[in-house]
């Protein structure tokens, strides 16, 4: 019955478990969602299904057939098509050629016939062209058919990828983050489009996104991945209320998640006082936050807009950072936090709005000039030089900063680094690298520090320690603007926070207050969409009329409903179906 079955799949990259014991089942005609925070392993799972990677253990069944020995192109021929998170169009080919190529590949046409333009080859060419044009027409792309795919704006390129995948006459469509770069209304439209595609092209869809709003709208059933493990599965509204899912997205104050990460007890003990210490400062934070209004503004951002290659990612962003203040930016992935930081620090050019720093208008000034004015940006991925030693890194920073040769301050703040002063930065652990990045920032002595995703790829315990160091900056009178996935940790050190949603700020709040109001955060990360959306209401109830179909073809929705009831009643689902059909139990 099921089209795709992933059974206990696992894969490791050089000792790092990317996926362990992941199982998933997709029914025919279903739009299945797969969500999880960044680095959860979603794209890795996609690569296993489409054959780009081979699992170390477990198996993947497509149409009840083993796929382990099949190469990517053979799986494509079975009917598995996919799109890519980072677009993989054939950029120097036209949009129409992009749509014809998968059809050529599936026909296995002969190069000699092609070279001599034999009648068969010419006919195949016509057919591929016609079908390609038909699908482009259906996706409203026909007017771009003769343009080079690489010349189109990113939003259209995503649609071309979808068209190209549909040209393969797939039975299963794997969509990797199709909503990235889209705003709220476009995302809503996309959800509708996906359903129409499923109905018209008779495909099943597996949809990956870390932004839940699309998944909530489009999917009947959702799986949740975190740190390479399936932590939850269910209907959209069930998943949204699952504490484990909320913990995965919010970086948790939940002990369960901490246990998952930190297994040995001695490692766990220092973390606990740290968390208590975090809680203890709350009253001070409230006081600090209260004084914010009176603080002199260091950074003022007015109606900032920016994006990449013609796609507007953020718009109308307004925020201020006072002198010596710690401000956190939180929100789902793709909400525009990183882009905001980049636009402020001059890494990308804002398209509209103004950035005022220390009373000077720094909008559209070069990044290195802005650094000279006292604003330092620690980018996502830390921006370190892996081939320099710790000491060399500091010497470089001290040179470009205060021009003194004294970098003891860095070692005082991070004594761990002192033992490793001669070690190459690239060989340090992720947490130590982040310390180097922060120590370097300390040496430059900026007035404002922009820190992007400090905790990315780090275990929660390490993250907790790093956050304590944020207070170091505060003590020195350095203002910090933080972008963070681990919300709870970020809020424990911040004075104020801005919540980003769909490329703009939807709320400004006092950090301590926000910490108490988890519902608001959950909304920002898991999408408020599902509450107003019709998916929940539409979800079919197991109904007597529908049972007639059970004997013929079982629609996905009904199968899920059946499974749920089976779990609730503790019975085997096939058994239950037979009982229902026989009328032995109440419908």
């Amino acid at each position: 019955m099921s089209l795709l079955k992933v059974e206990h799949a696992g894969i490791a990259f050089g000792g790092v478990r990317a996926l362990s014991d992941v199982s998933l089942e997709l029914n025919r005609g279903e739009i299945l969602g797969l969500i999880g925070p960044n680095g959860a392993g979603k794209t890795t799972l996609f690569n296993l299904i489409s054959g780009v990677l081979v699992p170390d253990r477990g198996q993947i069944l497509f149409d009840d057939k083993q796929t382990a020995h099949l190469k990517p192109h053979e799986r494509a021929q079975l009917g598995i098509a996919r799109t890519f998170q980072n677009l993989q169009l054939w950029k120097t080919m036209t949009v129409l050629e992009n749509c014809m190529t998968p059809q050529d590949a599936l026909r296995g046409r002969n190069i000699v016939a092609d070279a001599l333009r034999l009648p068969g080859a010419v006919r195949a060419e016509h057919e591929a062209r016609e079908r390609g044009e038909g699908i482009l027409h259906a996706l409203d792309l026909l007017e771009h058919a003769d343009e080079l795919a690489g010349d189109l704006p990113v939003g259209l390129q995503r649609r071309v990828e979808l068209a190209r995948a549909l040209c393969m006459r797939p039975r299963l469509l794997l969509l990797d983050e199709p909503a990235s770069g889209l705003d709220a209304t476009e995302t809503e439209e996309l959800a509708g489009l996906l359903r129409r595609i499923r109905d018209r092209f008779q495909v099943s869809i597996l949809l990956v996104d870390h932004d839940m709003s699309l998944v909530m709208r489009a999917c009947h059933f959702i799986y949740v991945l975190d740190f390479g493990e399936m932590i939850s599965a269910g209907r959209p509204e069930q998943v949204r209320d699952d504490p484990k899912v909320i913990a995965a997205y919010l970086g948790d104050a939940e002990p369960a998640a901490a246990e998952r990460e930190v297994t040995s007890k001695d490692k766990k003990s220092p973390a606990k006082p740290a968390r208590r210490a975090g809680a203890a400062v709350t009253p001070e934070e409230v006081a600090a936050a209260g004084s914010t209004k009176r603080r002199e503004a260091l950074l003022e951002v007015h109606n900032l807009g920016a994006g990449y290659g013609g796609i507007q990612v953020i718009r109308d962003v307004k925020l201020t950072v006072g002198k010596g203040e710690v401000v956190a930016c939180i929100g789902a992935n793709g909400a525009g936090k990183t882009t905001t930081l980049r636009a402020i620090s001059g890494v990308i050019r804002p398209t509209s709005g103004k950035v005022i720093f220390n009373g000077i208008d720094i909008t559209r000034k070069p990044a290195e000039w802005i650094v000279g004015r006292g604003m330092l940006h620690v980018p996502q991925g830390r921006g370190l030089f892996p081939k320099l030693s710790v000491e060399e890194t500091f010497r470089l920073a001290a040179y470009s900063g205060s021009s003194s040769d004294n970098y003891d301050a860095a070692f005082d703040a991070f004594p761990v680094l002192k033992e490793r002063r001669a070690q190459l930065v690239g060989t340090l652990s992720g947490g130590q690298q982040q310390m180097v990045a922060m120590a370097r920032a300390l040496l430059v002595k900026p007035e404002l520090l922009l820190v992007d995703e400090m905790s990315q790829g780090l275990a929660p315990l390490v993250v907790q320690q790093l956050f304590e160091h944020i207070t170091l900056f505060k003590d020195q009178g350095i203002a910090v603007l933080l972008v963070e996935q681990f919300v709870d940790s970020a809020l424990s050190v911040a004075d104020r926070a801005y919540i980003f949603e769909q490329g703009t700020i939807v709320r400004e709040a006092d950090a301590a207050e926000l910490r108490r109001d988890q519902a608001v955060i959950a909304g920002a990360y898991l999408g408020t969409a599902a509450e107003v959306d019709g998916v929940a209401a539409e979800a079919p109830v197991l109904h007597a009329d529908l049972l007639d179909e059970l004997t013929l073809k079982l629609p996905a929705e009904i199968k899920r409903a059946l499974e749920e009831r089976a779990i609730k009643e503790g019975k085997d689902k096939d058994e239950l179906a037979m009982e229902l059909l026989a009328g032995r139990i109440e419908r």
């Binding site: 489409s50 054959g51 780009v52 190469k71 990517p72 192109h73 799986r75 494509a76 021929q77 098509a81 996919r82 890519f84 993989q88 169009l89 054939w90 950029k91 120097t92 080919m93 050629e97 014809m100 190529t101 998968p102 059809q103 050529d104 590949a105 599936l106 026909r107 046409r109 002969n110 190069i111 092609d114 070279a115 001599l116 333009r117 080859a121 195949a124 060419e125 591929a128 062209r129 027409h137 259906a138 996706l139 409203d140 026909l142 007017e143 058919a145 003769d146 190209r164 995948a165 393969m168 439209e189 509708g192 489009l193 129409r196 595609i197 018209r200």
Partner: protein
């Protein structure tokens, strides 16, 4: 559809007219050197066409195209000197080049970019200094001085390297071979096979997941390219009268790649332009030296190529022909008319 077809036949017509003009010009000069240079220009054009196929279409880097030319030339010279009919020997030479191409393509299944380039350099150097020169392979490379080929006949027409008429015949035959090859290559480019090649060039990952058999099409690309290079090699002994290692050295491979990039590595007409340039410009330089009484060496030709490459990469990254094609393309109006979408699935 019809507009595309007319665009296609217009291009084809223009190309054939250009080749016809090039075909008659040398017949006005009863001069061995001018006619031999014309024939060499076509040989170079074929060699550069092989770069267009491999690098321009399939996106694989190779710095051993000269080796493919050489293996075919030596095989033809060897078999001819062992008493075989020249044309049969030539066909075997081309087939050998195809096989060597597929073999060299094997590492390309794992490597790409600079690493693949290094592997092909290794192939070029080992053939250059060992198989093409060493006495151990004298049975194949003809020992010191190589093989000599005096003449061959086909349907009563005489081809040789010493009489102006014999060279003119070779030139015409070569030109016909080039024209047919070029048409077939353009056909492949515009068809399903060509699209699969170009898909590999633009994104291997997407090509594989959209059903393109990477192994088959990469090897096919290498084989096809080596075969076209082999065509150049099979005619070489006839035009020059001798096969020795020097013309197939690694250095020539570099020049083929350099000229292909300079003229536009994605375009077939660029190969013709590059062939003419490569054949006539050194001759021109020597003549300039003769007239001005200065000592101008062949090395200056490489200086010119180097300087032009630097200028081209900056001003016309798609090559000389790519730049011209783009300018012509801008003059033409867009042809596609789009019907109002009626039953589209988008909102």
């Amino acid at each position: 559809m019809s507009s595309l077809a007319t665009g296609r036949s217009a291009k084809l017509g223009a190309g054939l007219v250009a080749l016809a003009i090039f075909a008659v010009v040398p017949s006005f000069f009863n001069n061995l050197s001018i006619r031999a240079d014309a024939a060499l220009a076509v040989i170079f054009a074929l060699a550069i066409l092989s770069v267009v196929i491999l690098t321009g279409y399939v996106g694989q880097v190779s710095l051993c195209q000269g080796t493919f030319v050489g293996i075919s030339a030596f095989a033809t010279g060897w078999l001819f000197n062992s008493g075989m009919n020249y044309w049969i020997a030539a066909v075997i030479g081309v087939a050998l080049a195809f096989l060597l191409g597929v073999l060299v393509g094997l590492p390309a299944l794992r490597l790409r970019g600079i690493l693949l380039a290094i592997v092909t350099v290794g192939v070029a150097l080992s053939f250059d200094y060992y198989f093409f020169q060493d006495q151990a392979f004298a049975w194949f490379n003809g020992g010191f001085g190589g093989w000599s080929v005096d003449s061959a006949t086909l349907f009563g027409v005489n081809f040789d390297s010493i009489s102006p008429d014999g060279v003119l015949h070779s030139f015409w035959l070569l030109l016909a071979v080039f024209a047919i090859t070029a048409i077939l290559v353009v056909n492949i480019h515009d068809s399903g096979s060509g699209r699969r090649f170009r898909a590999i060039r633009d994104s291997e990952l997407a090509a594989a997941t959209m059903g393109v058999n990477l192994t088959r099409y990469k090897l096919l690309g290498f084989g096809l390219s080596a075969m076209v290079a082999g065509l150049a090699g099979a005619f070489y002994p006839l035009v020059v009268g001798r096969v020795s290692a020097q013309p197939f050295s690694f250095f020539y491979s570099l020049q083929f790649a350099g000229f292909a990039v300079l003229m536009g590595v994605r375009y077939v007409p660029a190969a013709a332009l590059a062939g003419i340039f490569m054949s006539y410009v050194p001759e021109l330089l020597i003549n300039v030296g003769r007239w001005t009484g200065r000592d101008i060496k062949y090395d200056y030709f490489n200086v010119i190529l180097g300087a032009l490459l630097v200028v081209q990469i900056i001003t016309a990254p798609d090559g000389v022909w790519g730049d011209i094609a783009k300018r012509i393309g801008h003059l033409q109006p867009k042809r596609r008319r789009v019907a109002q979408p009626d039953n589209v699935v988008t909102t």
